[in-house]
């Protein structure tokens, strides 16, 4: 198991109160596996990713749980220790390709420094590795493009550069935080193709964060659905998508228009997600849930069947079947 997260809690201790952004998340990612992490805005996907790398900014911090990377707990490690992992063993790609590269440094600088942050190699060698990485992500004539600055690249190209940087050290795990959300369909497709190929070729594990079920469906081996800081359902992609059991997952699927006849009214989930500050005890979804009962006043435990896990007192198993 490359990564195993157990009962992760990441809280923001703000003046207004404690925002439980991630509140008891558990999942695992095996070698070469692609995990799709889906959920609505604010459900805690990004914070989960940052927690793994130890990059949660104050006033947030990991308040509990374990993050086991090859069995070793990363929680509580010093920034110095984490630094040796970041970019080397675990890499991350961010959503907005316009913002992830430093606009005033050349691509070369940004790549070479990454190489040399972990490996004591000459500039020339670092550069060679940078050229190679750019080639891998499909940037034409990488040797020349190295001297360019980010603004000279289009969004898709920049995202490729970011991926190339993530690849420099052939990390065992890449956390991709909605890296294609800002891109157009055709360009998104290009990036997905690159990522998919790389993951396959190098056996890299991947956590793919997205709110687009379609993207995750096409890419991930397994899916974890987040709601209000918890993973409410997780399992094989096909299982989760074809026979979702959590009412939230079901509601999500019904909200996607493409699943319905044209013009037919959609079946949206009523209401909206609770804000992270005011979450009350019990199942966070119960106020929007069609199946909620008095039982939901307390937090459901995780139930499981054949690697398909959910947190709900009223799993819609019958429907699925």
């Amino acid at each position: 198991m490359t990564l195993k997260v157990e009962n992760l809690r990441t809280y923001f201790f703000t003046r207004a109160g404690v925002a439980k952004a991630v509140d008891g998340v558990s999942f695992e990612v095996g070698r070469g596996e692609i995990l799709g992490l889906v959920g609505e805005s604010g459900s805690g996907k990004s914070i989960t990713g940052f927690s793994v790398l130890g990059l949660v900014d104050p006033p947030g911090r990991v308040a509990g749980g374990r993050i086991l990377f090859h069995g070793e707990d990363l929680v509580g490690r010093s920034q110095g220790e984490m630094r040796t992992l970041r970019g080397k063993k675990i890499a991350m790609i961010f959503q907005d390709p316009m913002m992830t590269l430093n606009p005033v440094l050349s691509i070369e600088t940004q790549m070479v420094e990454t190489v040399r942050a972990h490996d004591r190699v000459s500039k020339a060698e670092a550069r060679a590795r940078a050229v190679e990485a750019l080639g891998l992500v499909g940037i034409p004539s990488p040797d020349e493009r190295l001297a360019a600055y980010p603004h000279q690249f289009s969004g898709g190209m920049r995202q490729r550069v970011a991926i190339a940087i993530a690849l420099l050290h052939r990390p065992e795990l890449i956390i991709a935080d909605e890296p294609t959300t800002a891109l157009d369909v055709t360009i998104q497709s290009q990036i997905l193709a690159v990522i998919q190929g790389l993951s396959r070729d190098f056996g890299m594990s991947l956590i793919w964060i997205s709110h687009d079920l379609g993207v995750v469906a096409g890419l991930a081996h397994r899916i974890a659905v987040m709601y209000a800081g918890r993973i409410v359902e997780t399992g094989e992609t096909d299982t989760v998508l074809d026979s979702p059991v959590h009412p939230y997952t079901i509601g999500l699927m019904r909200s996607v228009p493409a699943n319905l006849e044209r013009g037919e009214p959609l079946t949206p989930i009523p209401g909206m997600a609770p804000p992270p500050l005011g979450r009350s005890a019990g199942c966070p979804f119960r106020l929007r849930c069609f199946a909620a009962t008095a039982a939901c006043e307390i937090e459901p435990e995780e139930a499981t069947a054949d690697g398909h896990r959910w947190r709900c007192f009223h799993p819609q198993i019958a429907r699925a079947a």
Binding site: F50, L53, Q79, A91, M92, M99, N102, P103, L105, A117
Partner: protein, 324 residues
């Protein structure tokens, strides 16, 4: 680049033209320099002779016309007081002002950037609050009052540093400067500090704001995710970004540094162009005032040009060659 220079150049020509016109009309409106310059026991005849000698008997339009024609030939008139080419008077004293301004700028940058970094990296800490309150103090103290206090404390009470004049100068690389001798340096410290204080505050705040704005950006987080050390992140990723506003603002402020030298030079009797300007205004020495503005405006233009070039070196998004 060419366009840029054309634009700057034509704009500045316009500015120079406008200011010279303004000064002419202004001086004409205020009074007759001769009234101030002639001795108290002068007779009518002497007065008239002086007026004629200085060309002040002619109409404003005629005077201005002559000025323009001469200016096109590189002659900007002679000082009424010194009877020397006004331009050469300015150039005589320009080095002193430039020296003062540059040293002040250096002080501001050398102290300001580290202080701003310290403050910006630990926002809301005691250190930050102290530095920031101090920098507001720098803004709040009127320049002349600072100067007075500096003199009072360091010259009069403590007797450490001289309070006026420029001191001995020596040569470094063929440039005559006070920096070459101890005496010169000692004379430079107080006025330069006085002049630097405002800029220092400015640099501190710019740096701090820059740090605070840059730190939460995604590319800093990405740099961390790459495993870079905090040192490299700050010294390269953050610094290079914040240098851009600092260079622009400080460059623009260099102009006001020279302008504010008027006050500092008055207080510290620094023989630069600022003091010359004040003196010239009080005696209505119009050619010198015009020449001052001319030189200063031209200087602004060159400074701005330099700033733009440095800017473009720092910020790849703005390359002068790319017309945008």
């Amino acid at each position: 680049m060419t366009i840029f220079i054309i634009r700057r150049f034509s704009q500045s020509l316009f500015v120079v033209f406008l200011t010279s016109l303004l000064v002419f009309v202004g001086v004409y409106a205020i009074g007759n320099p001769v009234d101030i310059l002639i001795p108290a026991d002068a007779s009518f005849a002497e007065r008239e002779a002086a007026i004629r000698a200085l060309g002040l008997d002619r109409s404003l339009v005629a005077q201005y016309g002559t000025f323009l024609v001469n200016a096109l030939h590189g002659d900007f008139g002679r000082s009424f007081v010194f009877n020397q080419p006004a331009i050469s008077l300015i150039f005589q004293r320009l080095p002193a002002t430039l020296e003062l301004a540059f040293v002040a700028l250096a002080i501001a940058l050398v102290l300001g950037i580290p202080l701003g970094l310290i403050a910006g990296l630990k926002p809301r800490s005691v250190t930050d609050e102290t530095i920031m309150t101090g920098s507001i103090l720098g803004f709040s103290l009127p320049n002349f009052w600072q100067g007075m206090m500096l003199i009072m404390i360091f010259s009069v009470w403590l007797g450490w540093l001289p309070s006026s004049g420029r001191g001995e100068s020596g040569e470094i690389f063929g440039i005559t400067t006070s920096l070459a001798t101890w005496d010169g340096l000692a004379h430079l410290i107080l006025p330069a500090t006085n002049l630097a204080l405002f800029q220092l505050s400015l640099v501190i705040r710019l740096t701090r704001t820059g740090v605070r704005e840059t730190m939460p950006l995604d590319f800093i987080k990405f740099a961390r995710a790459k495993g870079l050390s905090e040192r490299r992140i700050i010294s390269v990723h953050v610094m290079k970004n914040i240098l851009i506003p600092i260079v622009t603002v400080v460059g623009m402020e260099f102009g006001s540094l020279i302008a504010f030298a008027v006050v500092t030079e008055t207080i510290f009797a620094w023989p630069g162009i600022g003091k010359l300007l004040i003196d010239s205004i009080t005696v209505l020495d119009r050619p010198v005032v015009v020449a001052y503005l001319l030189v200063v405006v031209t200087m602004f233009i060159f400074i701005n040009l330099a700033v733009d070039i440095v800017y473009s070196m720092l910020d790849p998004r703005i390359r002068l060659s790319e017309t945008q």
